[in-house]
Point group: C2
DNA sequence: CGCCTTATTGATAATAATATTCAGTTGAGG
DNA sequence: CCTCAACTGAATATTATTATCAATAAGGCG
């Protein structure tokens, strides 16, 4: 069941150190931002950069890109394709908060929804092949009601 | 249930013309390539470009990018994030061939698997919100057995 | 069947997200 | 503390994808 723990600074440090990596203030700040992000919000690299700038905790874009990638590969964050041209990120929540995305390919309006069966099926599929699960996300690409009406394409 | 028909030149033409667009030899060729692609194969824009070059049916990269995007937004092709840095495409098959992807985030080794329940859940989720379904794909990000062994990160 | 309008193509240049480089800094283990 | 490799930030490079624009060719229509 997506063994994605709720990370604390301590557990993040432990997991990093285990691999010879380090806990830095920047990584701690970024984790905190994602942990406090309201449900349904997703940040791009630029979003995160701007947000931190605002908070007076400026972190370089280089470090932001590196950290987003690192944490995604650790299974701490999820990398999402919610819009064309750039990725979005959110914290990778375990079971009761784990969810999926219904995305309008025209305007990018996104609706989240939960599904236990999907998480189960995904977990089993990974297990069967001996893969170590990091994230499991159903992406539904569709056209929202508004965009259906506006006949534009 | 993902009303993605099996496209023929005629039905492609019909659907294009309906929107004031045109069927061109290039679009026909590209559709044919994807329809004849063996199960489990996915093409990037560059892959497709090289493949057509080889076949002596060279099509410009501009047109390839435009066509891949157009056909994805029409629901004819699926746009997949199977590797970092570029997208892959495959034909969007209806029910009995519809499938999902288990992807190693380290080496990009990908395994396909089917699941009727997921397609059902996705279809229902879109319906409930009044979205017009184009594609429904579960992406499982994980680490394959080989990459688990090689302790590298 | 031709004609006219306009979508489409291909070549080229532009854009923008992300990666890389490297010198200076700082975690973490001993 | 000390050492050393991992990390950061600034600048630069990369590269997938998009935009531009003149030339071409679908397709609706008379
Ligand atoms: Mn979300
Ligand atoms: Mn596939
Ligand atoms: Zn929309
Ligand atoms: Zn692998």
């Amino acid at each position: 069941m997506l063994n994605a723990p709720v990370y604390t600074s301590a557990s993040l440090k432990a997991e990093l150190n285990e691999k010879g990596w380090r806990l830095t203030p920047q990584r701690e700040v970024i984790l905190t931002v994602f942990q406090n992000l309201p449900e349904g919000q997703h940040l791009s690299a630029e979003d995160l950069y701007a947000l931190l700038e605002e908070q007076g905790e400026g972190i370089s874009l280089s470090t932001i890109y590196r950290t987003l990638k690192l944490m995604s590969r650790m299974g701490i964050l999820r990398e999402l394709e919610l819009a064309e041209g750039h990725k979005h990120y959110e914290i990778n929540q375990p079971h009761p908060h784990h969810h999926h995305h219904l995305i309008c390919v025209r305007c990018s309006k996104t609706i989240e929804f939960k599904s236990d069966p999907i998480l189960k099926i995904g977990t089993k599929a990974a297990q069967k092949e001996g893969y170590h699960l990091l994230d499991c996300q159903l992406s539904i690409h569709a056209v929202c009601p508004t965009c259906q009406r506006s006949l534009l394409v």
